[in-house]
């Protein structure tokens, strides 16, 4: 290859820009982690492991335990994924495999619009529409049928883990749908044809060919949705009920890590209190990183495991 002197300067500049951009991402993440850790140092060192396993959150007595908020974050996110994954992937399959291209385009635009609605709007809708609806009509009915189960115990307040999970599901569905749709569209048609030519039905083509081919991308879509559910603050704060406790009932009010930080940050009157809130941030960041890593390992596992 002959060097082209005219372009080598531009190439170097281009290369340097890209390296800087890449380093920038790493620097921002490292900076955030460092700031959080140094800010939360006091609370973490005083509380130790008790900061994570503690049940009490008492700013006056300066006793801080993150467990109820961590529990709330995990329960609402899990509930959200439980609802959003089948619906989100289902609608993505509808758009990429079943609908005509015109219908798919219209549905796709609407889904993208859903993803663009600010979370405070979702929160208002959740507080003024969804919560009363659940309180008046859904929760009493569920209790009549399954009232014996601890999962649905307690007074129907309308706000709580269940409402937050449901609202999160609605917010997460467009994320999962939009990403899964692109992942499914990237499956080459030759794969579908190979399966059809062997006498597979449309359902068997999707289950046996499209899903296996797209599975790492689909896991990626779910991880993105999970990230949004874990970190969502505003809407959840409005419908979670804001009670610092752990309850097995989905109807009970609770709290999440992000909601505690949002509600109490402006009131943090002592350095220790502020440090404890930053500690919640560390727990939230750690949870997100651990779940992301677990999902990646899962993807790698299925990729190497083959179909057998």
């Amino acid at each position: 290859m002959q060097a082209r002197p005219n372009t080598s300067g531009a190439d170097t500049a281009f290369h340097a820009t890209l390296v800087l951009a890449g380093l920038g991402v790493v620097t921002v993440l490292a900076g955030v982690a460092w700031e959080l850790l140094s800010l939360s140092g006091e609370a973490l060192s005083k509380g130790g492991i008790g900061f994570i396993t503690g049940m009490t959150w008492d700013p006056v007595a300066e006793e801080f335990g993150a467990l109820p908020a961590l529990y709330g974050t995990l329960v609402t996110s899990a509930l959200a994924l439980l609802i959003a994954v089948p619906l989100g992937i289902g609608s993505a399959v509808f758009m990429s495999e079943i609908a005509s291209s015109r219908v798919a385009t219209v549905v796709g635009v609407l889904v993208d619009l859903l993803a663009a609605i600010p979370s405070v709007i979702y929160g208002l809708w959740g507080l003024f529409v969804l919560a009363p609806l659940l309180r008046e009509h859904v929760q009493p009915g569920v209790q009549k049928l399954f009232g014996e189960l601890p999962l649905f115990a307690g007074p129907p307040l309308g706000v709580g883990y269940g409402t937050a999970g449901l609202l999160l599901a609605i917010m997460v569905i467009p994320v999962i749908t939009a990403v899964s749709r692109e992942v499914l569209r990237a499956v080459p048609d030759t794969q579908r044809e190979a399966a059809y030519a062997l006498g597979a039905t449309p359902f068997e083509v999707i289950r046996g060919t499209v899903f296996p081919y797209a599975r790492s991308g689909l896991v990626g879509a779910v991880v993105l949705g999970l990230g949004r559910a874990l970190g969502e603050t505003m809407a959840v704060t409005m419908v979670i009920g804001n009670r610092y406790d752990i309850s097995a009932s989905l109807f009970a009010p609770g709290y999440t890590l992000a909601a505690v930080i949002a509600n109490e940050f402006t009131e943090a009157f002592s350095p220790h209190y502020l440090s404890a809130l930053a500690g919640l941030g560390v727990v939230l960041l750690g949870t997100t990183l651990i779940l992301n890593a677990a999902a990646r390992l899962l993807v790698r596992g299925v990729r190497h495991g083959g179909a057998g």
Binding site: S100, S101, P188, T190, Q191, R192, E193, A194, A195, Y196, A197, L198, G199, A200, T201, E204, V205, G208, T209, P212, Y213, R215, R303, G306, A307, G308
Partner: protein, 300 residues
């Protein structure tokens, strides 16, 4: 069996509507019946008699109102190789995709006319496309093994996709891979992913996958166009061996390939069948000037 059927000479298919019925010798009601034997045919087989496996009768196909294929009629003789040649866009692929109803999985596709398999119309409603595609297998232009399945599962894909297992799966795998001339190369790595094979091996794996469900007919849509010359030669050799047990229809843009592997050749041009007949005759004494122009390289 009835008299030995064989298209015995290069028959010119008139492109006008009037000439069509005479062109195929057998008049419409007799399509699907064996062709009359022409006594002085130089290419008539001297071994066992071979019937007509498929008959394509006035087939028109396309998308929406656009016809890609117009009024094509030709027979496919049992346990022979029939080549379909013609320039790009002439409808070769559409033609073979109508033989296992793969054409209709594309939105907006339309088909009219009849395609008989063992004398019965595959568009007639007695056979659903799922069942048909197990009797008429297909190999595509680009090797498309399932990358997440092992080599073994790829061969068994005809069952795996439907969630079933054949009796004696090991036997089915070995038999199909042997017939596809791949067994010796992959017998020690049946558990390797389907994506780990070379292009030529992957294409033979696709052939094994199609053969495993024991089809009567194997359609091959330019099976060598993505392969190097050595892999191409192997596949051609394989086509030759397979023709003793399976009826093969192969689409190719490579005229030398058609001449090497096929017994009968159909030349399509702009969606119409220009000429159909014994390969040797078609290549040495084409009866239509367009065929001659094409095979002598004047266009396409």
């Amino acid at each position: 069996m009835n008299p030995m059927p064989m298209p015995t000479e290069t028959r010119r298919i008139a492109t006008g509507a009037a000439g069509r019925d005479v062109a195929l010798v057998a008049p419409r009601p007799h399509l699907g019946m064996p062709f009359q034997r022409d006594e002085d045919s130089p290419t008539a087989p001297d071994k066992e008699p071979r019937g007509i496996k498929m008959v394509i009768d006035s087939l028109t196909a396309g998308y929406g109102s656009h016809a890609v294929l117009r009024n094509v009629s030709l027979p496919v003789i049992e346990r022979t190789v029939t080549a379909v040649i013609g320039p790009s866009g002439c409808g070769k692929s559409t033609l073979v995709r109508c033989l296992n109803r793969m054409h209709e999985i594309i939105p907006n596709a339309c088909v009219s006319g009849r395609v008989l398999l063992d004398g019965r119309d595959i568009y007639g409603g007695h056979l659903d496309p799922i069942e048909l595609r197990r009797r008429v297998g297909m190999v595509f232009q680009k090797p498309n093994p399932f990358p997440t399945m092992t080599v073994r599962d790829n061969v068994l894909a005809g069952w795996r996709l439907t969630g079933t297992r054949p009796p004696n799966a090991d036997g089915v795998v070995e038999d199909a891979l042997r017939r596809a001339a791949l067994w010796d190369e992959v017998k020690d790595r049946l558990k390797a992913p389907g994506a780990s094979l070379s292009g030529g091996q992957a294409q033979r794996l696709c052939i094994a996958r199609a053969l495993a469900v024991r089809p009567d007919v194997l359609l091959m849509d330019e099976p060598c166009s993505a392969l190097d010359p050595i892999a191409t030669a192997r596949i051609e050799e394989l086509i030759h061996e397979l023709a003793s047990s399976v009826t093969i229809v192969i689409v190719t843009h490579n005229m030398q390939q058609a001449a090497r592997v096929s017994e009968n050749t159909a030349f399509l041009y702009m969606g119409e069948l220009i000429e159909f007949g014994a390969t040797a005759g078609l290549f040495t004494r084409p009866s239509d000037p367009r065929t001659e122009d094409y095979i002598t390289g004047r266009f396409g």
